[in-house]
């Protein structure tokens, strides 16, 4: 039995260990001596391992680090889980409350998280990528656990035993808040392995961690990093495994439209300036640093700036070809009794569609109150169309939507799968449709082929 009392405390996303007894016993793994403060220090995420080590070695310690609470009450509403949701929770618990659950959009990942919070009953921070998702989580947590539920992000800073935050705010505030939560839920956790966001996980001492995603794979291959931040993938089901039974049946339709002769001439001219510059500079856009090379070199000369303008022009022609807007008008008439979501690649196109067809737009400029109102009116049927750029790509629950129209987008498989996922929430007799409008014989055609490289489109 050790005689002295070791102090463990939380400091700026790290743990400080003081009064470690002299003797043969090593400090817990991950701790190193910090000359600056004359104590041992480790990243806060080492907390659970450190405490287990102290207990195993019967070291008397004063835990001044842990500032999270046990929730006095669990969920006040208990929904019967679907079989795969119960399996996912069981798998997570078996992994000691650390790990990632992969389920397709619309399969009810939120329900798995609500069950996990109810099971662990620790102060919980839910981290979501957008304000829309924060709003949605806030509603669902309030319904399940009662209030008050805290919010950090979008100008709010209200910390409660159960709190929802954006990734950005979690990164900014975790060095102060990292001791206050025993369970972290990372929604759309494929965002986490980025250099900055990963610190949100490292600065927290939460012993329990749950990651939720439909698409864990990242283009930079860093998905394996999430194992050290959240835990390994503990459960996985793909769209095709749940389609029909738990997700709506769906169909995808690709429509190619043509540029007019005049637009074609403009497109070809702009494209040739842009491609000519790439060739002259030896820039390969297929390489990971191709785009950044183009940006850097385009800013260095007049020819470069001309190439950038040409790039933007040819892209604009492909993405917002008038023929696309004509076809969109037909589709809006054809689906006037459905609930239609229109996706664009950029805000300018989003607002152009909104102004032209007088349909509500949701972008990052849209204030939370108006977003909430627009989504509510859409759900109730007062609005039958919503247009958005990227903010509704992920997670936002729009069960009423049954038609998605991708007017323009990136080559990202994840983005395309997520957009499809927006219309897959199952309801009686629902059959979902995803249209993809592509300007033929332009660079957009190959972008479209890249993003359809997923089992959901085969």
């Amino acid at each position: 039995m050790q005689a002295s009392t070791v102090d463990i405390r939380f400091a700026g996303g790290t743990l400080e260990l003081r009064h470690w007894p002299a003797g043969e016993l090593h400090v817990p793994a991950g701790f190193v001596f910090d000359e600056r403060t004359a104590c041992h220090r480790a990243p806060a995420c080492q907390y659970a391992d450190a405490v287990r080590y102290l207990i195993a070695n019967r070291v008397a310690y004063n835990d001044a680090a842990r500032a999270y609470a046990t929730l006095a009450e669990g969920a006040r509403v208990h929904r019967e889980p679907r079989p795969y949701q119960a399996e996912a929770l069981a798998a997570w618990k078996k992994a000691h409350g650390r790990g990632v659950v992969v389920l397709p959009t619309g399969a009810g990942k939120t329900q798995v998280a609500l069950m996990a919070i109810d099971d662990r009953r620790r102060s919980t921070l839910v981290v979501a990528p957008t304000l829309d998702l924060v709003r949605q989580w806030h509603t669902q947590l309030t319904d399940a656990f009662g209030g008050p539920i805290g919010v950090i992000g979008g100008g709010d800073y209200d910390v409660q035993p159960i709190t929802v935050s954006t990734y950005d705010s979690a990164y900014l505030h975790m060095e102060h808040l990292g001791a206050r939560f025993g369970l972290l839920v990372f929604d759309e956790c494929h965002h986490l392995p980025g250099a900055s966001y990963a610190l949100a996980a490292r600065f927290s001492l939460a012993p329990f961690r749950l990651g939720l995603t439909a698409t864990p794979e990242r283009t930079d291959g860093r998905e394996s990093d999430s194992a050290s931040l959240v835990g390994p993938i503990v459960y996985r089901k793909d769209i095709v495994e749940l389609s029909g039974d738990y997700l709506a049946e769906y169909e995808t339709v690709r429509v190619a439209v043509d540029l007019s002769a005049e637009e074609r001439a403009q497109y070809d001219e702009a494209r040739s300036i842009y491609v000519g510059f790439l060739r002259e500079q030896g820039i390969a856009m297929a390489k990971p640093d191709g785009w950044s090379q183009f940006i850097i070199r385009a800013s260095r000369s007049e020819a470069g700036r001309r190439a950038m303008k040409a790039y933007q022009r040819q892209r604009e022609l492909a993405f917002t070809a008038p023929a696309k807007l004509d076809y969109l008008q037909r589709l809006l008439f054809q689906h006037r009794h459905d609930r239609v979501l229109i996706f664009t690649q950029d805000n300018a196109t989003c607002y152009q569609v909104s102004r032209t067809f007088l349909v509500p737009a949701i972008t990052h400029h849209t204030k939370v109150k108006e977003r909430t109102l627009s989504l509510q009116k859409f759900a109730e049927g007062h609005y039958s169309v919503l247009v958005t750029s990227k903010v509704l790509n992920e997670g936002v629950d729009i069960p009423a939507a049954n038609v998605a129209i991708v007017l323009s987008g990136s080559g990202s498989v994840r983005e395309h799968v997520q957009r499809l996922g927006r219309v897959l929430r199952k309801s009686a007799g629902k059959r979902a449709l995803l249209y993809e409008l592509v300007t033929g014989d332009t660079s957009e055609a190959s972008t479209s082929s890249r993003r359809r490289d997923h089992v959901a489109y085969r």
Binding site: R36, A42, P43, H365
Partner: protein, 422 residues
């Protein structure tokens, strides 16, 4: 009316430029901020004047027009000075206050127009039956406004439509100084660690610096430099596990406090460029020259110093430029130091002033943690602290005074503390 939103950089020295605004050069593993030459300095003055004038001229107009006017102006500086122009422009833009100002409530207009549009679309039996003009006219009629006004108000609240209300742009000379500060700060944004050498005659400068470091939760190690002053290694708690740029912003924000020291130099380890190449950045300078007295010493302290010779004691008195540091426990910055003419033993004096009881308790904790210096802390009676809170086992004493500290009473405490040392 929505209240004015403050400009991002209403105060001075707050705007942080980013890497793309900085004119740097690499020499081996060194990163250099290229100083402005005479031609560039004149160009920068002209830019500051032109953008500032444009900002003042556009007060009352929308953001998009202002941005377009500035964009049209930028090429006139030439491709060579583009980076300089972008930096100066950012400093100006950050000192502009924009506000949403539409004759109609855009959000309400949208809600009404989009609801009407949805109804008309649902009722249509042929595509041509839906017309945006019909919808806008129907929405405009109850308001007694023309449809064109509603059309303009539809997205009148987007940032591009916001109105420039105030242009708080300082004169060109001052803007140029801020630009030069922001250049160094932009480099420090990418810093993983900063080593600063600072020397101050005035303890208040040290106190200001350490207050800043504490406020930003930066950690530091302090090493006295033989030539005078200190070397301070700055980083954050997590730096020992990941040499990232997480604390770059805090290091950049600490720069003005470092630059306020009488003499300063810094060496920063930075991760520069897209490839985050580790480079070293050095900078040095001197703050404004001291006034004739050399320091801005608090009056009660200077009174003690003036009256000290009249005591004719064995202790010599001098202003102190020391920082007394106990790693892990804290530090204090004394105002005066008293040296015994025979033994050479030094006792420090810090005047804690009249307002912070918490500061007294921090010093008590510091002494109890084992601060290895003899110190007397001067505390006003108004703070209601007893001299007994510091026991004989510490090498420090509290001197509680009624109105102002008295030289003879201070001498008594100094000798008492020194006796404990013996």
């Amino acid at each position: 009316m929505i209240p004015l939103r403050p400009a991002p950089a209403r105060g001075e020295g707050i705007t942080l430029l980013t890497a793309e605004h900085v004119h740097t050069r690499r020499r081996a593993d060194e990163l250099l901020v290229v100083p402005l030459d005479e031609r560039q300095r004149l160009a920068a003055q002209a830019m500051a004047e032109a953008y500032g004038e444009l900002a003042r001229a556009f007060v009352g107009k929308d953001r998009q027009s202002f941005m377009e006017a500035c964009k049209a102006l930028t090429p006139s500086w030439g491709a060579k000075d583009r980076k300089l122009a972008d930096g100066i422009f950012k400093l100006v833009l950050d000192r502009c206050v924009f506000e949403e100002e539409t004759p109609l409530d855009s959000q309400q207009v949208r809600a009404d127009v989009f609801t009407r549009a949805a109804e008309l679309r649902r009722q249509a039996t042929r595509p041509e039956e839906f017309s945006r003009q019909i919808v806008l006219q129907a929405a405009a009629e109850p308001l007694g406004q023309p449809a064109a006004l509603l059309d303009a108000a539809l997205y009148g609240d987007l940032p591009g439509a916001h109105i420039l209300k105030q242009a708080l742009v300082p004169p060109p000379d001052r803007l140029l100084q801020l630009y030069e500060l922001a250049q160094i700060q932009a480099v420090l944004l990418r810093a993983t660690r900063v080593v600063a050498r600072v020397a101050c005659q005035d303890p208040a400068q040290f106190r200001g610096l350490f207050r800043t470091l504490k406020f930003h939760q930066l950690l530091f190690t302090l090493t006295p430099v033989p030539a005078g002053g200190y070397e301070i290694t700055l980083d954050g708690p997590f730096s020992m596990f990941d040499a990232g740029t997480r604390y770059g912003l805090k290091l950049a924000l600490a720069l003005p406090s470092i630059m306020a020291c009488d003499a300063w130099s810094l060496t920063a380890d930075v991760l520069w460029g897209r490839e985050r190449k580790p480079l070293r950045f050095r900078q040095k300078g001197q703050s404004r020259p001291c006034d004739e007295s050399g320091t801005t010493m608090a009056e009660p302290v200077s009174v003690i110093l003036q009256r000290w010779p009249a005591l004719q004691c064995d202790w010599t008195a001098a202003a102190s430029a020391r920082v007394l540091d106990l790693p892990g426990a804290g530090l204090c910055v004394p105002d005066l130091e008293f040296t015994h003419v025979n033994t050479g033993h030094t006792v420090f004096f810090e005047l804690l002033g009249y307002w912070s009881r918490a500061a007294v308790w921090k010093r008590v904790e510091l002494c109890e943690a084992g601060l290895p210096f003899s110190v007397v802390f001067g505390v006003s009676k108004a703070l209601r602290v007893s001299e007994d809170v510091l026991g004989d086992e510490t090498a420090a004493a509290l001197y509680v005074f009624t109105k102002t500290p008295n030289a003879r009473s201070l001498l008594e405490r100094i000798e008492r503390v020194a006796a404990r040392h013996r």
